[in-house]
Amino acid sequence: MANFLVWVVWFGAAFACLASALAVVGFSNPFYSALALIGNLASLAVLFLLLSGEFVAAGQVLVYGGAVMVMFLFVIAYLGDRTDESPWSGGPTWQAVGAVLAGAALLAEVCVVVGLKAGGFLEKPAHVGRPFGSPESIGRLFLTDHLLAFEVTSIVLLVAAVGGVVLGSHARQELESDARP
């Protein structure tokens, strides 16, 4: 019974994921694409939960959905009409054809690999206990085995913040120079 439920949830989340991804790529209005991406992120969080990654799922919703997407929506709103575009006008160019082929090729390769059982790498899922994926175990790993990754990530965030400020400050200088008579 529990298995059946898991399957149902899985299919729902997977379907939502794919549909929203296609929507992101398909909409001409970027606002709708951003909203579709939020849906994508939510469905992915559900999938993470199914994979016993509770902390990651929570982080996904908070960071991605709560911060990144909000930023996106702010910028889209700021830019307004300039963001419209008609992607599929004029028929498929060679670029589009090439893109479809490349994407299809990547997909096909993965399917082939999976079909060939990938040399036995996909067998034997391990048995995990309750603490798997909990904040406590994640925290312990971050601060012991992967301390370097933790620190470096924080530096990356710092650099990005500085970069954002710099990019924004240029804009402010222009505003001031524009405003001067």
């Binding site: 670029q95 090439g98 893109a99 490349a102 994407g103 090729a105 990547l106 390769e109």
Partner: protein
């Protein structure tokens, strides 16, 4: 004796170097004197070596002296070694002696020439090369001397560089000689392969007897000899070589270089005796050359060319002698021929020198009346050439012919050819003599004749010609086979002749030869001097020298030219030149096409990334 041999060899080399390095500090006259004195020194050294050799017993006269090992490679050792034995000493005497006389003559002949130093340097170089050739102790050094005489010949034929005909003649001589050199080298390769050595004694002992290899070796050596001695079929260069100055023609193309082929055969006679077919071939070609050259000489109008064809014919006699195995006789004829042929050339040179360089006998006709002394010596030379007793040619030429009688049917055929040749010799020689030196002088001759300080020619030219005339008179008395034969005895231990005619054959042949020669003279007299008979019209066959030049032009030059043109059109232009321009064009087109990928569009770059990723994934997966 070894010291004498080395001095004899190296003096001319020193002279050539001195004149070359001295440049303009050596005056032209002095260059001539240097050359003359050193060559005379060479002759003196040769005499010393000869005298020293007389003291030794007959069986022990061969000495090899090696200065250092020239080439050592694995089991092969070739030294810079000189062989001084009976044969080489005779050759040294002939070469050094005649060369010194001719070089002394050149001092007068080439006086006033702008490039006189170059001339004497080349002449000394030639004497050195020829001495190296005859003194060498192994075939490798002989080959070196062989090549160097070819070089000297080229340099001297083309001495008048501004004349295109001279340059062409020099090239022709060199190329034909190069062909002979090539066959000789191939023979040497075979010898080294089969015997492992090239010194004479070793090679003669170890070379194969009979069979294909022996024939090939002998054939290769014969090829070289034919080219150097201008015999059929490699003879066409000799008449053209008359473009060189007259002393050059006398020295190189009469007395010494062209006899190198005979020397080679006589020296390597064991190799030829191992391949008797080739030896018979040598005799046959010699006989054919006697006839052919004699016939062509009948229609020539250039005085030097008549004498050149005569040289060709007489060397044919020497080849007959070597081919039938009468080695001492061949060497004897080589010696007497050097005397009277040099005499004829130099006397002709006096006449040419006196009439502003004109060589056409129709224009020179009758000059004898103005130059009686020259006429006298020319007569001596002509009689010697025809072989009339007691002049030199009689003794040597007849000994060869009579030896031929001892060699069966083939010998008789060769003998007959030789007799016909003797008749032709009388005919063309005295045609020349009667036209040029008897009768009334032509207006041209009268107009352009000039004396040299009241004499017919400079002193240096006159005394040397006088010496040669004396030698042509008495030189033949050295050997008359039935009665006394010191030369055969001298050469006997190393050159055992195959043919020994009986005394009866000798006497009979001699008388027949004189008769035939006199018949030729008589016919010439009848046509050209007394006007009793009319000369037959010259056949085109003879005037075109039996079409040999045309044949070779067709065979070698035109075919080569055709092949070269074909290659150019079919291979070189499309492939080489075409491929280069195609290559550059291809590069241009290729890079333009590749450059189209750099279109600045981010999306296409991403597409490239994705495509690359797809390919890489396949690669990784397949490798596993």
């Amino acid at each position: 004796m070894k010291a004498a041999a080395w001095i004899c060899l190296l003096l001319p080399l020193a002279s050539a170097l001195a004149i070359t390095l001295g440049g303009t500090t050596v005056s032209r006259r002095v260059a001539g004197y240097i050359s003359t004195v050193t060559t005379m020194g060479s002759f003196a050294a040769a005499v010393v070596a000869f005298v020293q050799m007389l003291d030794q017993s007959a069986g022990h006269r061969g000495h090899v002296t090696t200065s250092w090992t020239w080439l050592a490679a694995g089991p092969y050792h070739f030294g810079l070694s000189l062989l001084v034995d009976q044969l080489s000493v005779v050759m040294m005497l002939i070469v050094a002696g005649v060369s010194s006389l001719i070089i002394a003559y050149s001092v007068g002949y080439m006086d006033g020439e702008a490039e006189e130093r170059r001339y004497f340097a080349y002449m000394s170089l030639f004497v050195f090369s020829m001495l190296l050739l005859v003194q060498s102790g192994n075939l490798l050094l002989l080959l070196a001397g062989w090549g160097m005489v070819g070089l000297s010949s080229y340099l001297l034929i083309g001495f008048h560089q501004e004349r295109p005909s001279a340059v062409a003649a020099a090239k022709k001589a060199f190329v034909m000689n190069a062909f002979g050199d090539a066959t000789m080298v191939l023979a040497l390769f075979l010898l080294v392969q089969h015997t492992g050595r090239l010194d004479f004694a070793g090679v003669f002992a170890a070379s194969p007897h009979g069979g294909a290899v022996a024939n090939l070796i002998a054939l290769g050596l014969l090829g070289g000899a034919l080219a150097k001695s201008a015999q059929l079929p490699l003879h066409t260069w000799l008449p053209d070589a008359m473009e060189g100055p007259t002393p050059v023609s006398a020295l190189i193309h009469a007395a010494t270089m062209v006899t190198a082929g005979v020397y080679l055969i006589v020296r390597c006679h064991p190799l030829f005796e191992n391949a008797y077919v080739i030896q018979d071939l040598a005799a046959g070609l010699g006989a054919a050359t006697i006839l052919m050259a004699g016939l062509i000489a009948l229609v020539q109008t250039d005085i030097k060319r008549v004498i050149a064809y005569s040289t060709m014919s007489q060397i044919g006699y020497m080849f007959v002698g070597a081919g039938i195995g009468a080695y001492p006789n061949a060497i004897f004829h080589l010696m007497t021929h050097a005397f009277f042929k040099a005499l004829l050339f130099l006397a002709a040179g006096i006449a040419i020198h006196a009439v502003v360089g004109e060589q056409d006998i129709r224009k020179l006709a009758g000059i004898g009346k103005l130059m009686p002394q020259t006429r006298a010596v020319f007569l001596v030379g002509s009689l010697a050439l025809v072989g009339i007793f007691p002049f030199a040619g009689f003794f040597s030429k007849d000994s060869i012919l009579s030896a031929a009688l001892d060699r069966g049917t083939f010998g008789v055929i060769v003998y007959a050819a030789g007799m016909v040749g003797a008749f032709l010799t009388g005919l063309y020689t005295f045609r020349l003599f009667f036209i040029v030196f008897t009768g009334e002088p032509t207006p041209f001759a009268r107009e352009h004749f000039h004396r040299h300080h009241g004499q017919e020619g400079p002193l240096s030219m006159r005394w040397t010609v006088g010496v040669l005339a004396a030698l042509s008179l008495v030189g033949g008395l050295l050997q008359f086979a039935p009665l006394w034969h010191p030369l055969s005895t001298w050469l006997g231990p190393i050159e055992r002749p195959l043919a020994e005619p009986t005394n009866w054959q000798e006497w009979g042949s001699s008388i027949l030869a004189i008769a035939v020669g006199l018949a030729g003279i008589a016919v010439a007299w009848a046509i050209y001097a007394a006007g009793r008979a009319r000369a037959p019209r010259a056949l085109p066959l003879l005037e075109r020298k039996f079409y040999w030049d045309e044949l070779y032009d067709l065979l070698w030059y035109r075919s080569g030219d055709l092949v070269a043109r074909g290659f150019y059109a079919l291979v070189e232009r499309p492939l080489v030149a075409g491929s280069l321009s195609a290559l550059t064009a291809g590069f241009g087109v290729g890079s333009r096409e590749v450059g189209r990928a750099q279109n600045g569009l981010v999306r296409s770059y991403v597409l490239a990334l994705a495509g690359g990723l797809a390919v890489l994934a396949v690669v990784f997966l397949s490798v596993r």
